[in-house]
């Protein structure tokens, strides 16, 4: 665009038609990813009657907060969110500490044993003990059932994420490190004072990848956590969507003028509440996406 002498080739009508089709295809796919969310958000603010009468709407005729009031009154979703925030926060701290401290030595060319330890990581990516031995270790040997440690420890280092950090460390210019060493800094000080501050972008993006994993994780929580006071939001959501008939029978709640327990709206509102925290961090992750998915970076 800046180049004023761009050569303009006239498009043939057929080619212009192809261009239009391309826009329609891309736009259509983008809409298809967005529509379910629009439907759910709009429905969560609607009355039950409107939900049964109108198939699709973006703006409900009557705005109703009944569903949200119900959610916050019964407290399951709130409890789930609080627990999930806790699990995610502590989990990410553990992930980042272990990943960064493993990544740093592996990124130093003068670290003896580098190949050995790197291979130790690569092997875990190619071959695993599988679910049952891991489950037995966590549940029967370490006795972590009903403890959040069962959600934090088994996946404490994701090898892909660790290698992203390692490759970033490797790419940092070595002059700064050498200067610090001249000033008498040891490896620990160099890591904390030089390397970590320089690596903020990659650390931020990997931390966000870990955060998304923790927030979205369902299966481990289902396997290891049975204490209902420790339920995370995904467990609560699954129960409300698939297993509940409880909502309709709950009589302790005053449904107001509409008189109907908004079962469908409650499901939608719970989905919204479980989605919002992820959508809030989305704009921050977006900048860093590319680094995270560059699988080519796995190459030593």
């Amino acid at each position: 665009m800046a180049n004023t002498k761009t050569i303009k080739i006239k498009r043939s009508p057929g080619d212009q038609l192809v261009q239009v089709i391309i826009y329609i295809l891309v736009g259509g796919f983008a809409l298809a990813t967005l529509l379910p969310f629009v439907y759910i958000v709009a429905g969560s603010f609607a009355t039950e009657r409107e939900l049964t009468e109108r198939a699709f709407f973006v703006f409900p005729h009557t705005i109703s907060l009944n569903a949200y009031q119900y959610i916050f009154k019964t407290g399951d979703a709130v409890k789930g969110i609080i627990n999930s925030v806790f699990v995610t926060t502590v989990g990410v701290i553990i992930n980042m500490t272990l990943s960064a401290t493993l990544a740093y030595p592996l990124s130093r060319p003068y670290f003896k044993g580098r190949t050995f330890f790197t291979n130790m990581v690569i092997i875990t990516m190619l071959f695993t003990g599988g679910m049952v031995p891991t489950y037995m270790l966590v549940a029967n040997v370490l006795h972590l059932k009903n403890s959040y440690w069962a959600l934090w420890l088994p996946g404490a280092i994701n090898p892909f994420n660790m290698l992203i950090i390692k490759n970033y460390f490797q790419g940092l210019p070595s002059e700064l490190e050498e200067a610090a060493r001249m000033d008498g800094c040891n490896d620990g000080e160099i890591f904390v004072k030089i390397i970590l501050p320089l690596s903020k972008p990659v650390l931020a993006s990997v931390a966000l990848f870990y955060a998304v994993t923790h927030w979205n994780s369902y299966f481990n929580a289902m396997m290891y956590i049975s204490d209902s006071s420790k339920e995370v939001i995904q467990i609560v959501l699954r129960r409300i969507i698939f297993l509940t008939s409880k909502v309709a029978n709950e009589s302790s709640f005053d449904w107001g003028a509409f008189g109907m327990p908004p079962q469908k709206a409650v499901k939608m509102a719970t989905t919204v509440v479980a989605t919002i925290p992820i959508l809030c961090i989305y704009p921050f992750v977006q900048k860093y996406f590319t680094q995270g998915v560059m699988v080519g970076s796995v190459k030593g």
Partner: protein, 322 residues
Amino acid sequence: MSQKAERFVPQKRAGSLKQAYRSHKWLYLMIIPGVIYLLVFHYLPMGGLIMAFQDFSPYNGDTMLGAFFHSPFVGLAVFKKFFTGPDFIRILTNTLSISIASLIFYFPAPILLALLLNEIKNMAFKKAAQTMVYIPHFISMVIVAALTAQLFSTTDGLVYHWLVGIFGKSHAPDIMSNPKLFVPMIVGQNMWKETGYGTIIFLAALSGVDVQLYEAAEVDGANRWQKMWHITLPAIRSTIVIMLILKVGTILNTGYEQIFLMQNSMNRAVSDVFDTYIYTKGVVNGNYSMATAAGMFKSIVCMIMVLGANKLAKLFGESGFY
């Protein structure tokens, strides 16, 4: 200070580990937690694979670890029982149906979308579309399952409602319970969730293409397809190969979370895959040896597929995965 002194000491053997430790003590201290993690949560479970060769029962010892030493070894009997048992063929068929369908439909989808996005010259439109299609990647499987259930519910689902309008009441597909539609549903969910995000890696490769190549081709009279065939596709070929290797390696890995969430009594015959079988057999029913054998089979096949695909890629002159 000792570091400085060391530089002037003539080194007898450069490879001396003791010396490496002395000059970089911190690096060795730092690596300890990570190595302990790898040993405990990755290598110790690999040792647990020994159960696949035992008639393992946790009651054979006072503790779980003790049970390993007191459970009798049975050689390959557990594997034999697994391969000849009634479940093997069924879960293998189900797993392969899902992964082959996703190789055919789900794998090329991000490549196609990336090629389409690459053709879009309106930057604002492109940016907006990209922002939208990336979102589902960050949504949990539970929410995807919840959205599916709500949109395709036969009582009040929006999409089901539309489908009734198109196909009529009796022919509208009930994807939640029709076993025939289980595989399309799983693949469709994955396509909805990951196609957009999958484009990133291809778009990144495309951003490295010199614009002058396209301009030169235009001057030479190349049309859209010729440019795509001769410039765009070669630029992402090695990325496609790497992604294909990774995909092939997961041929028996359908992921348990999604299948588990979408499984119900109506579709169980087609929805039981290796991952759900291992979970049910091992974790729920406590048949540790059998589940471990199934897991080990899966893990070995996975490794062979990755290494094989990698070798094949190198044979064809691509750079491969590592």
